[in-house]
């Protein structure tokens, strides 16, 4: 999967036609073969743009806050990124007429070790759902599979699972990089920032981290698109996907196979209801 040349061509055309003010893409990292997000305003920098298997980050994150109100932006999206962008469009965070989207039919990215990461193996939508221009051949929607980690953990005893998660929450340093790297966490004032509040447990302790991560994952329940930007940003390398995939799994099984960001004007599972929702857990 190498679309570097096509992206360079399209970008230089967009700049020549004065359709965009800046472009968000990827460039080669200077010290290894990884890639970093790259923002260009000058067409002279276009040759630095690349797109290969190593383009792992979600660029929809670079459209906030309020950027697209004043500037016209072009960006590259993979399947999962386009789902996040679709949700941002539905939630009126981005102006559609001010962005130019180059959608890539993704064949799966590669991590630092050169292997396909778990979320690419289990990907349900490798094709972009919202785009102006599409590169590659669409392969269609894939079958949803339950995450292997979730299956494994659900079979464990309650005590073991509790110990496992207590370790995870104890390792959290509460830097909030997970929230900053999430394209769907765009609130100007976030509830997990209240460090001195007596209502909110803002302490940098295990209980504080548990409160923050649980609240965060429940705010993203039914909206998370499994791009795993949060995990890539986490300095403690916490398996944050466990919380999100668990929610996604419950929502998929119980609420009419709902998956976030797949359709236009779908605001997520918690913004609608059905009379036949499961009721057996209620006394």
């Amino acid at each position: 999967m190498d679309y570097s040349n096509q992206i360079r061509e399209i970008t230089s055309k967009l700049f020549a036609d004065n359709k965009i003010d800046y472009f968000v893409g990827y460039r080669q990292n200077s010290f290894d073969d990884s890639q970093v997000p790259f923002l260009i305003t000058d067409p002279a920098e276009i040759p630095k743009l690349v797109f290969t298997d190593k383009s792992v980050f979600n660029l929809a994150n670079y459209l906030k806050p309020d950027h697209t109100k004043r500037k016209r932006v072009g960006l590259v999206v993979k399947g999962c990124d386009s789902r996040a962008l679709n949700l941002m469009l539905t939630e009126s965070q981005v102006k559609r007429e001010n962005i130019y989207i180059i959608g890539i039919c993704c064949e799966g990215t590669l991590d630092d070790k050169g292997q396909k990461p778990q979320n690419c193996i289990e990907c349900v939508m490798p094709d972009p759902v919202v785009y102006d221009e599409i590169l590659g051949t669409p392969s269609g929607k894939k079958k949803y599979t339950v995450n292997a980690d979730i299956k494994e953990l659900a079979e464990k005893a309650l005590n073991e699972r509790a110990d496992y998660f207590e370790e995870i929450f104890a390792a959290c340093i509460r830097c909030n990089a997970c929230r900053h790297s999430c394209p769907l966490c765009y609130c100007a004032k976030c509830c997990i920032d209240q460090e001195t509040s007596t209502l909110y447990n803002g302490a940098n302790t295990t209980s504080g981290a548990m409160h923050a991560l649980m609240t965060w994952s429940l705010h993203l329940a039914g909206r998370c698109v499994d791009c795993r930007n949060c995990e890539k940003a986490c300095p403690s390398h916490l398996p944050l996907h466990l919380l999100h995939k668990q929610n996604e799994n419950v929502i998929y099984e119980n609420f009419q196979h709902h998956l976030a960001g797949m359709e236009k004007d779908d605001r997520g599972a918690f913004y609608k209801y059905s009379l036949s929702d499961p009721d057996d857990f209620i006394l």
């Binding site: 659900a154 309650l158 005590n159 668990q246 929702d277 209620i282 006394l283």
Partner: protein, 162 residues
């Protein structure tokens, strides 16, 4: 996901942490979050009808069951509570027409997530109680209290531990 509840030498062992136990006469603290229009009125009827129910529940009144943010539950469990009961109107009876339908979805996801990270599924319970069901409210509280008494004290993620 069900775990066996151990009872050793007349002591109640915590379901989440086998190292923690309480004496046999230990009484749990339960936070009850009730909707103003049905369950709160229902609990009022229980009182005025002189129906006995366990005194372990501490009641908080909210406008609607959809007012309950999942972090109310997390906050309760991190404070002194050993369990949480959330109660609202029956589906279709909501004062705000659709509030409890939205709440029902949120409760299911929150309950499963809390169970996933290591709370026993009976720690957090939900019920529909209408304003005329004073008898049912007493039964629900009795059941929840008994369930949580079996689970023992909750010791994970407590604020005062740090």
């Amino acid at each position: 996901m069900e775990t066996e509840v151990k009872e050793a030498q007349g002591k109640i062992v915590s379901a989440e942490n086998p190292d923690i136990s309480a004496p046999a006469d230990w009484k749990p603290v339960i936070i009850g979050i009730l909707c103003n229009w049905c369950s709160y009125a229902g609990s009022d009827l229980t009182g005025t009808s002189r129906i006995q129910y366990p005194p372990n529940i501490r009641i908080i009144r909210v406008p609607c069951s959809s007012r309950v943010d999942p972090w109310f539950i997390i906050k309760s469990l991190q404070s002194t509570a050993d369990g949480v009961l959330i109660s609202g109107c029956h589906p279709g009876d909501c004062h705000y027409i659709t509030g409890n339908y939205y709440a029902r979805r949120r409760f299911l996801v929150a309950k499963k997530l809390l169970n996933f990270i290591g709370y026993h599924e009976n720690r957090v319970q939900f019920s529909w109680v209408s304003a005329a069901e004073g008898q049912k409210f007493a039964k629900v509280v009795a059941k929840v209290t008994e369930d949580i008494k079996k689970l023992g004290p909750l010791h994970r993620y407590k604020k005062e531990n740090f």
